[in-house]
């Protein structure tokens, strides 16, 4: 592979990510936002690959694209009658929002670069190389055993709770 190839691919994915994210945010149509989010997730997944986190990238695609995004779309469908004006999501605080966002991004970047320029980010002795799937397996079953179990319980509870919250409420209906 050419020395230029990797940066170019990187920049392409980076651009895809950022632009689609911007579209998500600025689009007035929620459906467009949702679909645009798909590209953002893909882009981020690609960036994960650049960071040697192949398993995470796959998980990203499976969970976000296959799960969360679908969920979001369902949400959109449930709450909005398609083609109604409601679909056009309004905005508030636009001016302070833009200002704050720019300041926030500026602040973050300043912090990153400043730290970097001051020699703050010292690369580790051994950077991650190649696949981390095996190491993830080890870590999950050893050091991160407890968080792993807890997370699974959280997930279970959250799903049950979500199901409970969203279910068709007969009593509630009757009141109206």
């Amino acid at each position: 592979m050419n020395q230029l190839t990797i940066p170019i691919i990187f920049y392409i994915f980076a651009a895809v990510t950022v632009l689609s994210a911007a579209f998500v945010v600025f689009s007035k149509n929620i459906i467009y936002s949702a679909f645009s989010l798909l590209f953002t997730f893909f882009g981020v997944a690609a960036l994960y690959v650049f960071l040697s986190a192949d398993f995470i990238a796959v998980t990203q695609v499976v969970v976000y694209v296959g799960g969360i995004l679908v969920l979001l779309l369902f949400g959109v469908m449930f709450t909005n009658t398609i083609m109604q004006t409601e679909l056009k999501a309004d905005v508030i605080h636009v001016v302070p929002g833009v200002l704050l966002t720019l300041l926030l991004i500026g602040g973050l970047l300043f912090a990153f670069y400043n730290a970097s320029a001051a020699g703050g980010w010292m690369p580790g002795m051994m950077q991650l190389q190649g696949s981390v799937v095996e190491r993830i397996g080890f870590e999950t079953m050893s050091r991160y055993m407890l968080p792993f179990e807890m997370v699974s319980i959280v997930l279970l509870v959250a799903l049950l709770g979500a199901a409970f919250l969203a279910r068709y409420d007969k009593a509630h209906k009757k009141e109206h």
Binding site: I92, H93, P96, G97, L100, L104, G107, F110, A111
Partner: protein, 761 residues
């Protein structure tokens, strides 16, 4: 084993109490409401007292007779710093006790007997006898006590019985007021007495007279001499209250709201004299300064109340003020050191004043509860017995020779003259001067009373019709009526009282004659009383200053004396010589006194005996003569004179305005303070509490209430500030999550700014 006299005295003490207990619970279930029980038990007590009197006075006839018995009443255990400590109660019998016992029980028995007639038909007849019983009990307790603590207890108990008896007609507001006034005024005096007791106790850890006197004699009083004087004066305050001395005399005239037999027993003969008795008990520890205070108080009281008595209309009120005046004499006597004379006067006064009160009761009874002398008159024909006895007692009170009153009053006045000379003249001559002035007035007002009541024409019909109501007299001087409800005044037949009311009068009048007390109609000093009750030697050393004063004064006093009365042959200069002279004086004239001042006074008193007789006879004649001039010969019209000296007349008639002064200052003042403090309590103290509570509550509901609360409470500027702040704060709380998020981001940026600023620095 108790001495039989002690046993008898305990019987004397407890029999009236038994009468009280039986009668208070069972009077309604007994025939005649149990009056025979009261009379019988108190009569038995009198019998016992008479036995004691016989054994002590007649058989022993020894000035030094003394018998004591005590028991441990409180045991404090082994007190740290003091050691084993007990409070003892006990009985002491000496000549004075024996005489007092006989006197108290005699008058009590007579009053019981009299009341069977006087109170007949009263719905609370039985209870009246019960109250008399508890009074007699407590009075005997005072007489028998051998220590300050128990005398204080019985002191308050006689206060209670006086309270109950003054308020016997409690449904009358005037009676209810009078009883409260009596109790409270006495309490003020009792405070002083109690403090005096505390001073002595704090030194010696005992209440017993004898122990205290022993200690003082041995000179182990550890506080300054001023404290000892203070103790004496404070103890005397008890007497001021109970014996109605100025400034606490105001209660006694009002106490005449009680039934007349009560006035005779309690407010004339016995209880009020208890003050004098008490001063006699503490006489030996009185310092010269304390004695001077006592002498002046007594002299002033004697004079002041005599002036008041002149103008009163109510028959009992005149007698009440004369009682105050006579008590003033006794206190004066104590103050000037004429111990035995004062006690002698106490005894004689008890008999003739009881006779006067019972006589006035008979008059009131006969006049159907008319007490105003202006509407009496001409009774001597209708009530001969009463007239004769009343007159004898009046003469005794005025101090006519051949009566008992003459003997004792003369002795006191002689003492006062002697005292003034020893103390160095000047202001001290005020004491005998006031005493003699009071003697003139006594003769005058008693003459006025006898004339108005017994002579002239009956003036019953002159009584204005509107005065018939109960409260009509309240305008000038709230007269008490011994009424039993709705009696009709006026025009009934006036008749002599029955035998059970007449007998006491006769007996008491008999006891007012000189021969009972002394064979010599002009000198009480030759009688048995003065022999048995002798002035005890003081245990307080005269202070150096007083001693010197006495030394300096003696020559002048002697000269004065020699000039004025040539028949006084004892003109000495050295106190020691006086003491010798006094001791060689002859029979019955007092023991030898180690204390120079006391010896001096004893001597001078004796020296002034004839002066006093002359002067007081003069005064008596002047007084009676004036009464004759005004009321019999009608040379001076009393009403016109009263008009001419109207301010003086009113001053006297309104009792020197003491009631008004006390009402305006002490009573109103106390009520004001109490109102202020109650307000303070309800609003300030509680307000602080509630305020704190409110603050906490407001704190808790800060979100909801703070701006409203602050706006309401603050001035405009604060209100504005708070409003602005509140408005800004309210904008922040929109309820929109996103707004909150914006805030969060702003905060984060703030952190960044801080971080960057740090870096730049």
């Amino acid at each position: 084993m108790m001495h039989s006299l002690i046993q008898l005295s305990i019987a004397v003490l407890l029999l009236p109490l038994l009468s009280f207990v039986v009668l208070i619970f069972f009077n309604r279930r007994l025939p005649r409401m149990g009056d025979f029980i009261g009379l019988g038990l108190v009569g038995t007590a009198f019998g016992c007292a008479l036995t004691i009197f016989w054994q002590v006075v007649v058989q022993h006839y020894d000035p030094a007779f003394r018998l004591a018995w005590d028991f441990t009443w409180l045991d404090f255990g082994n007190v740290p710093g003091v050691g084993p400590l007990q409070v003892k109660m006990g009985i002491v019998i000496d000549n004075l006790t024996a005489i007092m016992l006989a006197m108290v029980t005699l008058i009590s028995t007579l009053v019981h007997l009299y009341s069977t007639g006087y109170m007949h038909g009263d719905p609370k007849y039985g209870r009246f006898f019960a109250y008399l019983g508890i009074f007699t009990f407590s009075m005997i307790g005072i007489v028998l006590s051998d220590n300050l603590f128990s005398i204080y207890m019985f002191w308050e108990l006689v206060g209670l019985s006086s309270y109950l008896l003054i308020g016997f007609y409690f449904y009358k507001d005037s009676a209810a007021d009078a009883q409260k006034k009596a109790f409270l005024t006495n309490r003020v005096g009792d405070i002083g007495m109690w403090l005096g007791i505390l001073i002595l106790y704090s030194q010696y850890h005992t209440f017993g007279y004898q122990e205290i006197y022993e200690h003082i004699k041995n000179g182990d009083f550890h506080m300054s001499q001023a404290w000892l004087t203070a103790a004496g004066v404070l103890l005397f305050m008890g007497c001021v209250g109970k014996s109605a001395q100025f400034p606490l005399h105001v209660w006694l005239p009002d106490a005449m709201e009680g039934p007349t037999p009560v006035s005779a027993l309690i407010h004339a003969a016995t209880m009020v004299a208890a003050g004098v008795y008490f001063v006699a008990r503490i006489f030996v520890l009185l310092t010269p300064e304390a004695q001077q205070v006592i002498a002046f108080v007594g002299a002033f009281t004697a004079f002041m109340s005599a002036t008041i008595a002149i103008t009163q209309h109510d028959i009992k009120r005149v007698l009440a003020y004369s009682t105050v005046s006579q008590l003033g004499y006794m206190v004066l006597g104590m103050g000037v050191g004429s111990y035995s004379a004062a006690l002698f006067h106490l005894l004689t006064h008890a008999f003739f004043k009881a006779c006067l009160f019972l006589g006035s009761g008979a008059i009131i009874h006969a006049m159907h509860h008319e007490q105003d002398m202006r509407w009496m008159g001409g009774l001597y024909k209708k009530m001969p017995w009463t007239f004769v006895t009343f007159s004898i007692a009046t003469l005794a009170l005025a101090g006519l020779p051949l009566t008992s009153g003459f003997l004792s009053k003369d002795a006191i006045l002689a003492g006062a003259l002697g005292f003034a000379q020893v103390e160095g003249g000047g202001i001290y001559y005020l004491v005998p001067a006031l005493g003699f002035a009071a003697a003139v007035m006594t003769a005058f007002y008693m003459g006025r009373q006898v004339w108005l009541v017994f002579f002239g024409e009956s003036r019953t019909h002159l009584k204005p019709a509107e005065d018939h109501g109960h409260d009509a007299h309240a305008a000038h001087a709230s007269h008490g009526h011994d009424d039993h409800g709705h009696e009709d005044h006026g025009h009934h037949e006036v008749h002599e009282v029955p035998w059970n009311m007449r007998f006491p009068l006769v007996l008491l009048a008999t006891l007012s004659v000189f021969i009972v007390f002394s064979p010599d109609p002009l000198d009480g000093g030759k009688g048995w009383f003065m022999h048995l009750v002798q002035t005890p030697a003081t245990v307080v050393a005269s202070t150096e200053a007083a001693h010197e004063g006495a030394n300096l004064s003696v020559p002048e006093a002697g000269k004065l004396l020699a000039e004025a009365h040539t028949d006084t042959q004892h003109v000495e200069t050295a106190p020691a010589a006086h003491a010798e002279a006094a001791s060689t004086e002859g029979e019955g004239h007092g023991p030898v006194y180690a204390d120079p001042r006391q010896a001096e006074i004893a001597h001078m008193t004796h020296a002034n005996h004839w002066n006093a007789i002359k002067l007081s006879s003069l005064m008596l004649l002047a007084g009676i003569g004036m009464a004759f001039i005004v009321y019999v010969f009608r040379i001076i019209d009393p009403d016109k004179t009263a008009q001419n000296i109207r301010p003086l007349y009113l001053y006297s008639f309104n009792k020197w305005y003491w009631d008004e002064i006390y009402d305006a200052t002490i009573i109103k003042g106390s009520m004001l303070i109490s109102k202020i403090l109650a307000w303070f309590d309800a609003n300030i103290v509680d307000g602080i509490v509630n305020g704190v509570a409110t603050i906490f509550r407001k704190f808790a509901f800060f979100n909801g209430g703070v701006d409203k609360y602050v706006v309401d409470g603050m001035v405009n500027f604060t209100a504005f500030t708070v409003q602005t702040t509140g408005a800004v704060l309210r904008k922040i709380q929109t309820g929109k999550v996103q707004t909150y998020l914006v805030m969060v981001v702003v905060a984060v940026l703030g952190y960044f700014a801080f971080y960057i600023a740090q870096l730049i620095k």
